[in-house]
Subunit: 590 residues, 2 copies
Amino acid sequence: MNTFNVTFLPAKTKIQVRDGLTIMEAAVEAGIELEGPCGGKGTCGKCRVKLLGEDNEEPVLACRTTVSRDLVVEIPQLEVSLHRKSELTQRELDFQLNPGIRKVFLKLEKPSLEDQSPDATRLGNALGLDRLNMPMDVLRCLHRSLREDNFKVTASVANGEILKVDAGDTSGQLFGLAVDIGTTTVVAALVNLLTGETLATASATNAQNIFGADVIARIEHVMNDARGLEHLNKRVVGVINRLLTKLAQAAEISPEEIMQVAVVGNTTMSHLFLGLDPTYLASSPFIPITAHLVRAEAQDLGLEIFAHAPVYMLPNIAGYVGADTVGVILSTGVHKQEGMRLAVDIGTNGEIVLAASGKLWTCSTAAGPAFEGAQIQFGMRAATGAIEKVKIDQDVHLSIIGKAPAKGICGSGLMDIVSELVKAGIVDGSGRMLNREQAEHLPETLRSRLDRNDAYGTHFILAYEPGQEAVVITQKDVRELQLAKAAVYAGIQILLKEAGLSVDDLDQVLLAGAFGSYIDKESALALGLLPPVTPDKIVSVGNAAGAGAKFALLSADLRQEAEELARKVIHVELSTRQDFQEFFMDALGF
Amino acid sequence: MNTFNVTFLPAKTKIQVRDGLTIMEAAVEAGIELEGPCGGKGTCGKCRVKLLGEDNEEPVLACRTTVSRDLVVEIPQLEVSLHRKSELTQRELDFQLNPGIRKVFLKLEKPSLEDQSPDATRLGNALGLDRLNMPMDVLRCLHRSLREDNFKVTASVANGEILKVDAGDTSGQLFGLAVDIGTTTVVAALVNLLTGETLATASATNAQNIFGADVIARIEHVMNDARGLEHLNKRVVGVINRLLTKLAQAAEISPEEIMQVAVVGNTTMSHLFLGLDPTYLASSPFIPITAHLVRAEAQDLGLEIFAHAPVYMLPNIAGYVGADTVGVILSTGVHKQEGMRLAVDIGTNGEIVLAASGKLWTCSTAAGPAFEGAQIQFGMRAATGAIEKVKIDQDVHLSIIGKAPAKGICGSGLMDIVSELVKAGIVDGSGRMLNREQAEHLPETLRSRLDRNDAYGTHFILAYEPGQEAVVITQKDVRELQLAKAAVYAGIQILLKEAGLSVDDLDQVLLAGAFGSYIDKESALALGLLPPVTPDKIVSVGNAAGAGAKFALLSADLRQEAEELARKVIHVELSTRQDFQEFFMDALGF
């Protein structure tokens, strides 16, 4: 067996690999992040790398290129989108700012023969602390911290522990990070803990995607590869580190000044972020390792910020209802409001919460990656080039994000397209897409768009420019959406049944998820994704899960509330219920 | 400048050193422990090593041999004395066993679709814990720990945290370590935390001694060498690791089974053990970094036992009254008893405690290393070959530990010798030793023992065997003792004065320190080390500081008591007091 050296640039990471591995597999071994949402099928083109020192420096696909000699591979910088404004800032803070970490500036008395108090006692007394806990490294530097600026210091205190002692007055600077780990996208916000203000938000693809688009594929990687958990953990931590580096640069602070973190994500993401084996989530009875609020130190999780920064992973509710759902409840406040409310968070999974005057029910449905676009032939995130709205009359009219040439379809676009295809009679009530022969009654402008080939099967061409690949929607895509919307609909029906309520009792339907912001309410109702309420009852609440992370970052009381509500929510397990299957079958058609 | 490779065996530690360093200095750089109590003077012979691959494999002194070519150096195993019985076991446990760490065996319900509790919740509920804290690595292994023996587990809980989860029932095994870090000797006891029984005790030289015999020399090394603190910290931690390895072997357990540690030592030793810079202890106003009870994890301190084992360093009182004195108070219980008691702990330093019906005063005197023998020409620990008792009439009669040929003088022997020399008129009331000419009135058997040479100055020969080096006591030795006993005596007087008491008020004088066990009460009184009480009031309490460590190991209540009493003791700083100088001068004579 031959082995070859592969050097990845710009990090200069070297690894020795055996014959037969792809560059992508070598990158995984080396802990190098490389996008590849198609999971190595060679279709997404995201894993393009450059081989240096070759005659022909053309890019190649890492997932399709086998290492058969020593290589120097240049990896493109992964894309981080930075937003000064974000949906995390839209929501009003209607609670008391109480992040649980505080900075106190102190002018201590200097030691003398009349006052021989030890350094730690001097500090503890000034802080009014009874027990004096601090990490060993802080204690080990204390004599220097106190004397550097003549016994003027700033102490950072959290959970009764002195986490840091700075010389001089640094009490005007205190930053935190709110993180929403989505299966597809990771979003992070840098927050001023003294004011509650969001300074910047950034998002990036969850680099775990090379191991599959959904949580099950990721869990399977853990089960099939002895180092799988390590791969997935490193990748998500790596993404967060890239995001926070970018955020710190934008805000002109050092990452070391980030002193607290709050994180949400579904139960699998929360396990992978914490380095917990998600294996038992994958099969019945779907047991998480922990569902409690987890507090850890940044250094124990590999986050490249202040080593002792408390990191709060919000509690999970069940194997498939995670901290992201707790975040939705927390930020929308449905657990504290009078009346009946439904909150639907549709991402790669779909979680549903029903709140009826303080009582809470929840379930998770396999919304599938349909809504985030990952298993849709031309699925993509809601970014430049994504078709987000469609109108079909005698022809097809597209709204494209960034008014660029169409590159793909985002989640809200997909719903719009299918809803319009049904209205136009191109897809029938059972979800079947006509072929060109069956579509003779349609205008030629539409009929000519129906096609069939080996790569896509039956499909409908949405956009075509000469010399470019056409953007199409396939029969399979329609089926994906059909399954997803039926699942969400059936989940809603089950929760209403459990609560003894009907659709008419609902005062509001909250649509969460980045997706929720773009959705056309009429399409969602027309498709039967949402139960038949009047459109005015439907409210988009944006990234409510991420907002929940920010709320938890800013309030120790809300963290406590999160822990309590996570234990209080009634989780309805759908997998065992006959009635779910019935609702599901009923809801499949259009 | 040339550099050479030095490889130390048996550890195979390699280091590159520059021309001109001694093997001893190379060993220090490499973090290799090597005895050398004489501090590199070439006199103690303790640093003998073997140079391998030489024609002549004769041992050389590491402190006197310069590295001038590549070397392979074999280091002898440092000596650890193991005792099945020890003074730490003599004292009765008159308190409730409550080590603060407990093991609980649990048979958990297995998960099912009817009971989807996460692993952590399942465990927490069974333990009746409200908040579920555990180190990340314990959480990361929890799924395996629970499933390895079918949800039968033993949880180790301390301070509200789950420190360990073992598969199966391990609740019958729970061990702890009590450590007394002396400037000269480190003693450790392995204790069964379920019964309070001491399983074995071991002691070894404090390997910091190559940097000097007393605390000031050690602090100076920290001040003069950028890596000095690291050197000293590594050496004392290394000694403790060697001791515990030996103890674990003797008790046939794994060091991993040691789950808790309590440590005493003087303030400098406590700083060096914790890795705290003792620089500010060395000069006025003598400020420790901390005097609180410090709780740390074994892994943060480099102890090679269970990583999360709580390590309790007992609180200090002041810069020169440390956790060892707190240990003396704790184990003798003088703080809780009626009546007036004096406790004198004489080691390399001398600490004095006066207890008067619950009120406590303390001070530290530069007892100097006289009592531990380090600056006495033939000083040695109370080990085989040490002269421990002396009678002088027409000739000299020696009691030698182990009935071996005399090798040196231990602390109690020194007091005996000087007391007898004074009685015999060989040393006069001012402490001056006669020379041979002035001693014509003495029997020839004694007179012929008086001598003078360049190495020792004026001295008195105690033992001489042909072909062996004579064991002598020098004028300088007498002066050392004189200074030490005057300091202790003056310290006692100051405390009595502070408390408004006189010697006659004392109900008891407790003599602590390994030294205290061997002392001849009459000699101590005759020399004026102790105030004039009747000998029946003098009680030896052995290694009361070490016993204090064991008490603290076995009782969370006593740890709390230690923290409180350390804050309550009135520390009397002698360095600034005119009256101390007066008492001291008055007490200098014999």
